[in-house]
């Protein structure tokens, strides 16, 4: 019994993490305060990191936590603390597009799930786990140009952020 459980522990954890990620994502839609939404999003990301770890891509799991949870979401949480505006969007959560939005979302989910069900008839390969070495070789051998281009993108984003703030400061004196 215990041995059987231990053998299936990976699958069990995968299912638990997946369902928890979905529940946290659904909570994001109904919670009121942006801080609560941020906490739900952080837990979704941590659960996804757990899934990546279970799949064997540990470096992506590490970067999911390092970049998404610590960089992006900490920035987001700071901004939520910074903007202390009590406005109607905290109490009235949903816009006027609630009904068409829900219908459209369900339709999108149905179409994608249908495509998934019928498109993946090809037998799944034996999942070949690739390690950090294979990834690094591919990363710096084939995709070095993309890697360099992302640095240009980051510089552009920083300059654009500075420009946005400077323009408004000039206008307001």
């Amino acid at each position: 019994m215990i041995e059987n459980l231990l053998q299936n522990l990976d699958t069990l954890l995968l299912i638990v993490f997946g369902i928890s990620a979905l529940v946290a994502a659904a909570l994001m839609l109904v919670l009121r305060h942006p801080m609560q939404v941020a906490m739900a999003l952080i837990s979704t990301m941590v659960f996804l990191g757990g899934i990546y770890g279970l799949l064997g891509v540990h470096f992506i799991a590490a970067f999911q936590v390092l970049i998404y949870v610590s960089a992006v979401m900490v920035f987001m949480v700071y901004v939520i603390m910074l903007i202390d505006v009590r406005d109607p969007s905290f109490t009235r959560r949903f816009s006027t597009l609630l009904v068409p939005g829900v219908v459209g979302g369900i339709l999108l989910l149905a179409v994608l799930a249908y495509a998934l069900w019928h498109g993946l008839r090809a037998p799944a390969h034996t999942t070949v786990s690739f390690g950090l070495q294979q990834f690094s070789i591919a990363f710096l051998d084939e995709y070095w140009l993309h890697f360099e281009l992302t640095s240009v993108l980051l510089v552009a984003a920083v300059v654009a952020a500075l420009a946005v703030i400077k323009v408004t400061r000039k206008k307001h004196g």
């Binding site: 699958t11 995968l14 990620a21 994502a25 659904a26 839609l29 942006p34 939404v37 999003l41 979704t44 996804l48 899934i51 990546y52 891509v57 992506i60 998404y68 992006v72 920035f75 987001m76 901004v79 939520i80 903007i83 505006v85 406005d87 109607p88 969007s89 009235r92 816009s95 597009l97 939005g101 829900v102 459209g104 979302g105 989910l109 994608l112 799930a113 998934l116 993946l120 799944a124 390969h125 999942t127 070949v128 690739f130 294979q134 990834f135 070789i137 591919a138 990363f139 995709y143 993309h146 890697f147 992302t150 993108l153 980051l154 552009a156 984003a157 952020a161 946005v164 703030i165 408004t168």
Partner: protein
């Protein structure tokens, strides 16, 4: 349902939930976070496909998406701050005059 299908179903559901959040919520910051959720769904599908085929291309793309998400937040947050300073509200409807 095998593992790949389960993971892809979760990825699809995360993407749909994120899109739904962008459409139905009225708070700007919540809409931004729902966009991040969509990116996370795409990341999960990419990792699953990379694992299924045993190639590293999907994982490389996930890394590039990390960078794009960081850049997106770095530019979106100042814009939100500027909008809030102008209108004193986070409600998306308040910016309807941007429609032109």
């Amino acid at each position: 349902m095998d593992k790949v299908q389960f993971l892809l179903l979760i990825a699809v559901a995360l993407f749909a939930l994120g899109l739904l959040g962008v459409i139905v919520r009225r708070n700007l910051l919540v809409m931004l976070m729902c966009m991040e959720l969509m990116l996370n769904g795409v990341n999960l599908s990419l990792v699953t496909f990379a694992q299924q085929t045993g190639t590293a291309a999907g994982a490389v793309l996930v890394f590039l998406i990390f960078v794009v998400a960081a850049a997106e937040i770095a530019i979106a947050i100042p814009i939100v701050l500027v909008l809030v300073r102008r209108k004193r509200t986070l409600e998306a409807d308040a910016f309807a005059d941007l429609k032109g």
